[in-house]
């Protein structure tokens, strides 16, 4: 599904990723500051890698060797931010329709009413984003991204800014998106239980380096000591045909 082989660095931070993600719903887990959000920005096209290639479903998004860079608006990859980032000057309805307008009719995969119903945001349509609660904002952000009919949906800590109770309210919606829409998901979080709850395969990122999940065939760890994350016992059914940094 998603092939990554890239490096990106700013100052003392270096991101070095080589991975082949094959599951439709993939989790990416790691402590804060490990480069998770940066990786999502690179996949979405909001940042350019210093070197490397990103391919999604056989389509090249970036290839620095060939000086090829597809701008974010032409990638068809949705991104949901931790704090929703709804457009404050537009109503909820206009927010939802923002991305949809940039899709031709035949490219649209969802009906507006279906998404509104799926996320239970029908009563919010006329409101302004500043009058919504955190959980409502996040549901609208999810709907906005889905109505763009993305080929891949990146979720950047969509629950991190919510209190535990709200989290419990949003999780079922994420599950619905996973089960009902068929959109491939890459779910990023520092909270392991969220990732385990939602995704089929988990990758770990630590200090800018991505590693295959522990249940995959043992990948060579070129940096010596195993990470605490990697010591986690493997979950059954978490198998992944991943190639680590050195297959």
């Amino acid at each position: 599904m998603l092939e990554l082989d890239l490096s990106w660095g700013r100052g003392r931070f270096a991101l070095d990723v080589s991975a082949r993600m094959t599951h439709r719903v993939t989790g990416l887990c790691g402590p804060s500051g490990s480069g998770k959000s940066t990786l999502l920005s690179l996949i979405a096209g909001l940042k350019k890698p210093d070197r490397g290639v990103i391919r999604f479903q056989g389509r090249t998004l970036v290839d620095t060797g060939k000086r090829f860079f597809l701008p974010p608006e032409r990638r068809g990859i949705g991104l949901v931010f931790q704090d929703a980032q709804l457009f404050p000057h537009l109503s909820v309805k206009s927010n939802l329709l923002y991305g949809r307008r940039h899709r031709k009719v035949e490219e649209r995969r969802f009906h507006f009413d279906d998404i509104v119903e799926l996320l239970e945001i029908g009563h919010l349509l006329a409101r302004r984003p500043n009058l919504l609660s955190g959980g409502e904002k996040q549901r609208v952000a999810l709907g906005r991204a889905l109505l763009f009919s993305p080929q891949l949906l990146l979720l950047d800590e969509p629950l991190a800014s919510l209190d535990p109770q709200r989290k419990q309210q949003i999780l079922p919606f994420l599950r619905r998106i996973r089960d009902d829409t068929g959109v491939p998901l890459l779910y990023v979080s520092h909270a392991e239980e969220e990732v385990a709850y939602l995704t089929e395969a988990v990758w770990w990122i630590r200090q800018g380096r991505l590693r295959a999940n522990p249940s995959a065939p043992p990948a060579t760890d070129r940096h010596g000591a195993p990470t605490p994350c990697a010591e986690r016992p493997a979950k059954p059914g978490n198998e992944q045909s991943a190639s680590g940094p050195h297959p």
């Binding site: 909001l46 068809g76 923002y98 302004r128």
Partner: protein, 236 residues
């Protein structure tokens, strides 16, 4: 009724001031929006220098930029001579020169709120729009510009008001020609200089206080409308 109260030279000065201020604002806005956006979002060579020098026309005595403009754009000036030779255009002692003078002096007031309002927009809003299929220009027009509009309006009002009141640079650059460059403040000055001109000066002073007050109230009203429209303030 108003026609009886305001004499024709007073009207002339008021109309000229309004014309100069409108043109100053209209020409200054696109420049300020472009430069403000560049300063807020991009890094380029010489940016620090531009930032440091931008407020200069505001802190200098207005006579100084006025005189520099005269040197540059006078009929024998570096820019004025070719301009006159090739296009037959001369800004000196012409009302369009008054527009340029008040633009130069008012530009720092125009660009500061514009730049600030661009800086206050979370770049991730623009990124979100990019991931929703909008190209850079579309993002600018549908997200950045509407969100910056209260600041742009504030800058426009400041530049307009500054232009209405511009005196030093105008009189130095384009002189005090009745009907051509004698704007409201220059007319007040002329009236005070004349023996027996106090009544006319008083009239003009009342007019300029009224005009400025109306401009301020209008801007307050518009910016409140804009802010509620943009969702910064609750409707409740």
């Amino acid at each position: 009724m108003i026609g009886d109260w305001i004499s024709s030279p007073e009207w002339q000065a008021l109309a000229l001031s309004a014309r100069v201020a409108v043109w100053c604002t209209l020409i200054g806005l696109p420049i300020a929006v472009t430069l403000g956006w560049l300063l807020a979002r991009k890094s380029f060579a010489g940016k620090k220098l531009v930032e440091a020098l931008l407020p200069l026309p505001m802190v200098l005595p207005p006579v100084v930029p006025g005189y520099i403009l005269l040197l540059l754009f006078g009929r024998y000036g570096w820019l004025g001579a070719p301009l006159y030779h090739y296009f037959g255009v001369s800004l000196a002692f012409h009302w369009s020169g008054a527009v340029l003078a008040s633009l130069v002096v008012g530009f720092p007031l125009l660009i500061q709120p514009v730049r600030l309002s661009f800086q206050l927009i979370d770049p991730r809003l623009e990124q979100a729009a990019r991931t929703l299929g909008a190209g850079p220009l579309k993002v600018f027009l549908t997200i950045t510009l509407p969100l910056a509009s209260p600041g742009i309006l504030a800058g426009a009002v400041l530049a307009f008001s500054r232009s209405l009141g511009e005196f030093g640079a105008t009189i130095t650059f384009v002189g005090n020609v009745a009907g051509e460059t004698r704007t409201l403040p220059l007319a007040i000055y002329s009236a005070i200089q004349q023996p027996g001109g106090e009544a006319m000066a008083m009239h003009l002073i009342v007019i300029s206080i009224a005009a400025s007050t109306i401009a301020l109230f209008l801007s307050q009203f518009l910016s409140r409308k804009l802010q509620t429209g943009l969702g910064y303030q609750d409707h409740a």
